[in-house]
Symmetry: D2
Subunit: 335 residues, 4 copies
Amino acid sequence: MMSVNFAVLGAGRIGQVHARAVASVDGARLVAVSDPVAEAAQAVADRFGCDIRSIDAIAAGDDVDAVVICTPTDTHADLIEQFARAGKAVFCEKPIDLSLARVRECLKVVDRTSTPLMVGFNRRFDPDFMAVKAAIDAGRIGAVEMVTIISRDPGAPPADYITRSGGIFRDMTIHDFDMARWLLGEEVETVMAQASVLTDPQIGALGDFDSANVILRSASGRQAIITNSRRAAYGYDQRIEVLGSKGMVAARNQHEANIEFAGAEGFGAPPLLNFFMTRYTAAYAAEIAGFVAALADAGPMPATGHDGMMALALADAAVLSVEQGRAVRVGEVTG
Amino acid sequence: MMSVNFAVLGAGRIGQVHARAVASVDGARLVAVSDPVAEAAQAVADRFGCDIRSIDAIAAGDDVDAVVICTPTDTHADLIEQFARAGKAVFCEKPIDLSLARVRECLKVVDRTSTPLMVGFNRRFDPDFMAVKAAIDAGRIGAVEMVTIISRDPGAPPADYITRSGGIFRDMTIHDFDMARWLLGEEVETVMAQASVLTDPQIGALGDFDSANVILRSASGRQAIITNSRRAAYGYDQRIEVLGSKGMVAARNQHEANIEFAGAEGFGAPPLLNFFMTRYTAAYAAEIAGFVAALADAGPMPATGHDGMMALALADAAVLSVEQGRAVRVGEVTG
Amino acid sequence: MMSVNFAVLGAGRIGQVHARAVASVDGARLVAVSDPVAEAAQAVADRFGCDIRSIDAIAAGDDVDAVVICTPTDTHADLIEQFARAGKAVFCEKPIDLSLARVRECLKVVDRTSTPLMVGFNRRFDPDFMAVKAAIDAGRIGAVEMVTIISRDPGAPPADYITRSGGIFRDMTIHDFDMARWLLGEEVETVMAQASVLTDPQIGALGDFDSANVILRSASGRQAIITNSRRAAYGYDQRIEVLGSKGMVAARNQHEANIEFAGAEGFGAPPLLNFFMTRYTAAYAAEIAGFVAALADAGPMPATGHDGMMALALADAAVLSVEQGRAVRVGEVTG
Amino acid sequence: MMSVNFAVLGAGRIGQVHARAVASVDGARLVAVSDPVAEAAQAVADRFGCDIRSIDAIAAGDDVDAVVICTPTDTHADLIEQFARAGKAVFCEKPIDLSLARVRECLKVVDRTSTPLMVGFNRRFDPDFMAVKAAIDAGRIGAVEMVTIISRDPGAPPADYITRSGGIFRDMTIHDFDMARWLLGEEVETVMAQASVLTDPQIGALGDFDSANVILRSASGRQAIITNSRRAAYGYDQRIEVLGSKGMVAARNQHEANIEFAGAEGFGAPPLLNFFMTRYTAAYAAEIAGFVAALADAGPMPATGHDGMMALALADAAVLSVEQGRAVRVGEVTG
């Protein structure tokens, strides 16, 4: 098997995760890293044995087949276009952009250049969620009817992150929107949402919410509900459940350890894994493997630019629903 | 302790459940039963050793302190008024009426006569749900933020029942509306709902839905979501979960037996209890005991006429929300 | 159906439980109670509406078909013989006697008089254990190989009870010996046991143990292990598990409520039901129903005098095994 | 930090696992592999980028600090002695030898040469078992009283493996003996064991057993029970539970995925991880890290030669207990 030569753009927290994944996946090789912060780039180069290069050098390099974009959100669309034009395959962390119009424009370039593009919806690669999807695809629950997603962060991100995040629906719920689309097996037609500030008034002062509920509905009447909070005292709560005509399948939460304690006060178990990188360790490794496999087969990407755009469209529709207190058709925001 | 003398009106399925509860609760005595079907009345009289009387004779009887109304829904409001005027305490199966206007009128009579009235929201007496409420009241989860109710019937009722039911929101979700109000600890201000026909087109032909999701929101921004289906292949699914500032508390489902099986195909456990009377056996016994205790103490009723009216108002608001695709303020329906 | 007329001998804690069961089982009627303590007898008579009589009067009474023996252990064998000779059916709380020789003698009288005799091994009627047995009988785990019984009391009984109890194996493990025989489906041939004093030195001072492990082995090599402690801080721990050639089936513990709590310290659930009467409420009701049904069908008793004797024989063998530090054949103690 | 240079002896299944662990642990470097099968050595050399050398060359090499012995059992003691004399640190897969006398002799050489020796009891490094141990050490259950180990293989190994294995107690139970010693916190004084052939008569024909139960007892009366079977249809069953004066702590089993399915037949979950390498993936990585850390600190080894010897002594005592049907003092076999 030919190896896919990779460069990682951005050597921050998530860049390091992807660099490690590239380095350990069969059929992939990490050849370069790029980061404006010299120490960050150096640390990745030392750890995984690769070059440090500028972004333009990577785009120009004959020895790079694919890039992993882990730079700040507002650079994603430009970089996708640059590397699409340079003939590289692109894996981009979500979101492509916070503006649906900009995303649409960017995807036109991707289309025109026939660039293989995968968007980093890592949860599609979580082993438990994959087992849920596999059960559905195997017909174990019959026709999908109702999806329930309970998704809560352990705690809110810092204020400056919130300011740049695009708001809870575009930053946090976007993962759940993608899961809902993936599990419903149909495009969503209508979005209803409700949002509050319950955990920290500062979040409200920044114009954002910390607690939200969303109802999605497809053309045939399938529904999904998503319940979000920025704060769960007991850890990173990530549950999905799908009801079908013949039954139900659900993914359970993951605890810090699979132990049970009992004493005079009752029974106990450890909190949930408390951090998205710990919770989704296996998913991050598997998504790069999925990208490499799709490149090798020249097959469809497991999470496409269209998927990235649609999740953002649902977020935009949710924002509008909260503002106007009504059900919003997705067509209203996709135009 | 003086005993409360009871008559049960209506000797059908739920009448028998309440007759048994009255017969076994300390401080209560079953003196009479009434039913237009002679055999039904006779069966209760034989089983529990009480008289058979007409409704008017019960209202006139000096030896009856309280009645349990288990007759068809469209007689509830009239009977409440008749027995309120007769000076009896009244326990009435939900709903008081399917028309909010009629309920309001009936509650005026109850008020004017200072009649002790309890509405049969049996779930408030389920031992597990009571333990959830007790944990909240004890401050274990801090301030309540988000309530999640997953409530699914094993299968849809027959067509003629659906026709008379008032629709899924007034017949099925009404229990969940009451649980949400009870757990939120604040009145609901806004209702958003979505509904579909997914399990059986005949339900749609009758003008009803079988699958629904609802988002409730209180003045302070607390939220509740309710997800309903008329069909869960695996039994009667009754889960509630409350997220607060310091944690979460949830009631688990109840299986036919607490056993676990394991074989080459994996692990297994029995289906859920499949029938509301089996699932809520303890709750039905406890609610009559709660009524008797409230009468004995001359204390507040654990589920009042106002509770019955407000749950119906939420149902009406949900119907309107589905029709008009918008958030409905509860004030719009309560007038 | 003809009703079986019952008298209950002994109006203490367990006598009241059985009186309630008799009063509520279809096909049974409580006609008399006997107890040397007048107040105890009166309380049962008042609660369930029956006569107070002397034991001899009950034995002589034409209107009594069956007795439930709930008197102190050292009277059981004499009473069984008296009522066997009086032609009554007998339900006797375990054990028949603490002496195997006395049991054998007593069972000869029962045999000679063809008396229907049931011994109160209530756990055979626990709904979960019955579901385990039903799964085995239905072939779900194939051939039974290994039984695991974890059986722990919440706390040790008072010293004077321990003195009269016959020791941990005859008092506590005896229930587990019966479960093991019932689940193994073969007679036990060899017993190995180990015992310690770990929870309270006073128990050792009384010549008893509080912590014990036992291995049982049948002729074909099937095995059971039993692990006992007189103290489990978290409640009454009652688990059984059966491994077979095709899988495993197990009964889970029962908590005070089926709720789950989560906070910064992790997840929690209430302690186990803490008292044998609460834990086995359903079993106590079902065992009297089982006795009545066996009488009605003139069928085999669900727990016979032989079962009572064999459980005691296993206890005697365990005592010998601890004393002599060796495997004891059951034949050594049954003679 | 200086890096520890490693050679792996034996490039079979377990050798590959350890080579991968060495390659990924910070502070360790894989410099050489040795295996009589050239292809096996080559595969490891290719995968992890190290030399292929003879065992003698490794012993003579100045650039090797430590070896991992993954060769057949009957070579372990000789290799430990060779590398002890060569001044290398040694990590050896269990057992050191099947003969207690040979182990004793080998450990004398280790002692005389002050060789850091760790024995591969991987389960001590399982994250869940470590969490159990940590809870005990933190005093959460008070004084340890009773250990319960349920340990079942998915299926029996091939006949030729069984022939060379030393029997179920020395091959399979040995891991549980080590866990029991580790968790009891006291040396075992007495062993009682029972063994049968229940899953496959061929195992009996080879002179071995497939089903065994063991009771261990320490001087102070603490006890452990171990229940073993060579066949569990539902996967690799690995549970431990420790009862103490203040409560209980237990490690749960690990399933193929953390999902739950529900349908008309009831609820289901996937089988257990079915293979020791999958079940203990994290443990295998952590034990090499533990070895490296102990070398770096010149601290005590987390599993010593003495631990290896004592687990074997318990196995020998169990064999004797089965043969003679009696409790065996460990001193009888350690001499």
